[in-house]
């Protein structure tokens, strides 16, 4: 314990779990949220508002199916309006979840354990929201299955050389793998809830999804290997998904879209927006559900640092786009970028720059990084800014391409706006259901990073390793050998 304390002091890093918690208090804190007979009043308010949003979405989709895509503002020359913007926005949101669960896992960033469940759930719900939009954008939703290589769709096959079809495979794979990753992480925690269940219904329902998990170490061994493999698979996958999304734009010949910077630029932006969304969701949740000892200020500060870093990458991409447009010497490309900053959509461009590049700069100050109101406001600004980034990319290039005679100005209709609002309703409804019924902190993983979980003495290698000092009493047979 003393040694551990010294190491922590030297690194200046506070512990990951505070409040003097032991294993049981972790279980209690997390399970209490799903076991309380009635959730806090804030949950009811949130659930009501988000289901109203969901109802709006369903109403707007029904209206769209009844009347056709004419109810949207899309027309020549802007054929890709809110639907594609929202699709890219929501897919991007999902990326932070995979970054936290997979990439930070491979980098052994153990602070991720308190927030990964949360972020993974967010990924799945964001991808569900994203998948709605291409589905309803096709115009004839009853033939949406033509996207898949199924026999007898017109006796023809999809064109595998099209980036739009790559998207079907990329996003489909992404959703499936994220769901598997999330569920594998949930199995031990669902077993915990099953073992604490008081009513028969809960015992059966959680029992089914726990798959009979009994904490066997022979199982844990394969489970950990499987988790590592999934993380290793999800890491290139998440980079590929937003790259493929960016190919939808980059493989076209439109000025402003036809650039090689798009894949990394989209991936950085995706992770940035996703972290902002994690913050937006996590700050109120840890407040309302008493998780402050598990999701500590250290976690929030780390998140803010990542937002600062990815925000700078996005800012770098914005400036290099301008540089290459000038340096490339293509006058259409040069016009596209001057038009972005000074044309009819300059209000959207400067909203994007101020939200995405300027607002996170406040995180250079430690005091601001640790201020809950500041980080909450910044996270919302970044969400707005990242939505506008996609708006700027999609709309400015389409509205003014090569021939001035074909230019136009895109205005969304009320259906567009309410569909976007409604997609937030879908997202938050799913999220509210998740925090009510499933453990929002990965209990087994958090227990594994606590000091009590580390063996103070390895019986196999007496002096091979410096013992990681835990707070354990030495086992009876080891009293002599424990201290070195």
């Amino acid at each position: 314990m003393k040694q551990n304390q010294e190491i922590q002091d030297q690194l200046g890093r506070p512990p990951l779990v505070i409040g003097g918690y032991d294993f049981h208090s972790v279980t209690e804190t997390v399970c209490k949220v799903v076991e309380q007979p009635k959730p806090p009043i804030g949950w009811y308010i949130g659930f009501t508002i988000s289901s109203l949003g969901l109802a709006t979405l369903l109403a707007m989709i029904s209206w769209l199916f009844y009347k056709g895509v004419g109810v949207w503002g899309v027309n020549n020359p802007v054929g890709w309006g809110y639907a594609i913007i929202n699709f890219v926005f929501w897919v991007g949101i999902g990326h932070a979840g995979t970054l936290i669960s997979a990439i930070l896992f491979l980098f052994r960033q153990r602070w991720r354990t308190s927030i990964n469940r949360f972020a993974e759930a967010m990924t799945i719900f964001a991808v569900i929201c994203a998948l709605v939009f291409p589905g309803i954008h096709v115009g004839r939703p009853w033939v949406v299955w033509w996207m898949f290589p199924l026999p007898y769709a017109q006796n023809m096959w999809p064109n595998f050389r099209s980036p739009l079809l790559w998207d079907v495979f990329a996003v489909g794979t992404y959703f499936t793998v994220s769901l598997l990753f999330w569920y594998v992480g949930l199995i031990p925690d669902i077993a915990t809830i099953r073992d604490r269940a008081k009513t028969k219904v809960r015992k059966i329902l959680y029992g089914i999804f726990a798959l009979g998990w009994r904490g066997s170490h022979r199982h844990w061994h394969r489970y950990e290997v499987a988790y590592l493999i999934l993380a290793a698979l999800a890491t290139p996958l998440v980079l590929s998904v937003h790259s493929v999304v960016s190919f939808d734009f980059a493989t076209s010949q439109l000025p402003g879209w036809h650039t090689t910077i798009f894949p990394p630029y989209f991936v950085a932006g995706a992770i940035y927006s996703g972290f902002a969304m994690v913050m937006t969701l996590m700050i109120p949740s840890r407040e309302f559900f008493g998780l402050k000892n598990l999701v500590t200020m250290r976690h929030l500060e780390n998140m803010n640092r990542i937002m600062l870093a990815t925000g700078m990458m996005v800012g770098y991409a914005y400036s290099i786009e301008f540089f290459i447009a000038w340096y490339g010497g293509n006058q259409f490309e040069q016009f596209a970028f001057i038009n972005r900053a000074l044309g009819p959509y300059s209000w959207a461009y400067w909203t994007m720059v101020s939200c995405n590049v300027l607002s996170p700069q406040i995180f250079w100050f430690r005091k601001m990084r640790r201020s809950i109101p500041v980080m909450f406001v910044v996270s919302i600004l970044v969400n707005i800014g990242m939505w506008f980034e996609r708006f700027v990319i999609v709309v400015t290039s389409l509205s003014r391409d090569f021939l001035p005679a074909a230019w136009g100005y895109y205005r969304p209709t009320y259906v567009d706006v309410l569909t976007l609002v409604g997609s937030f309703g879908l997202f938050f409804t799913l999220f509210m259901i998740f925090i009510r019924f499933l453990p929002m902190v990965a209990m087994a993983e958090v227990k594994g990073v606590m000091p009590q979980a580390q063996a103070s003495h390895d019986p196999e290698h007496d002096r091979a390793h410096v013992p990681r000092a835990g707070s354990m009493q030495p086992a009876p047979g080891l009293a002599g050998g424990g201290a070195q």
């Binding site: 998990w213 066997s216 999934l230 063996a455």
Partner: protein, 186 residues
């Protein structure tokens, strides 16, 4: 040591024995002793993966990675075959004069299906090797076993182990420094 005689007397319904430990150190030390005693059908139950337990139990590394490699290669091969057969063979498609079969254009789908097949193999392979789902198991007959997913550590030795002897195994487990030995019903 508090094994009721009729339970320890080798009734047919006996599934095995269960001992409870309070700390990671205790269970690691006890597991190494059970391993050294030569048992094979036994297990450790912990609320989280305990590091060093693989060695303490003498578990061999799983063959899961090999399964995943097979799954991934299958996905890759199928993706290539599918794209070639659909776009270049079964219904050749002329799209802006591009070649019917062009590897660079087919790589994104190949990559995605490789990942998809690997991930599915990982999860279902892991569950299959673990023989899950199994909703019935002898350890669940213990009341206090519920804490195996909370904050306690257990060692179970099954009666089907060739080294198992109702009396001597119970005595051996009783000496490991854990709780009293509990007999599990099958």
């Amino acid at each position: 040591m508090n094994v009721a005689p009729e339970q320890a007397g080798g009734r047919e319904a006996l599934f095995g024995y269960l001992v409870e430990f309070e700390t990671v150190d205790q269970v690691l030390h006890a597991a190494a002793q059970v391993r050294d005693a030569g048992f094979t059908r036994w297990d450790v139950h912990t609320p989280f993966p305990v590091h060093g337990m693989d060695r303490a139990m003498g578990i061999r590394y799983t063959k899961l990675p090999l399964l995943v490699l097979t799954g991934g290669l299958t996905g890759m091969g199928l993706a290539l075959l599918m794209q070639w057969w659909m776009n270049a063979y079964n219904y050749p498609y002329i799209i802006s004069g591009k070649p019917f079969f062009s590897l660079p254009a087919n790589i994104p789908v190949v990559f995605e299906l490789t990942v998809l097949f690997s991930a599915l193999t990982t999860v279902f392979g892991m569950l299959g090797l673990n023989q899950l789902p199994t909703w019935r198991h002898g350890v669940f007959s213990s009341e206090r076993f519920a804490r195996a997913t909370d904050d306690r550590f257990f060692i179970s030795v099954e009666a089907s182990d060739p080294k198992f002897d109702p009396q001597r195994t119970a005595e051996f487990l009783g000496r490991l420094g854990g709780s009293e030995v509990e007999a599990l019903q099958a």
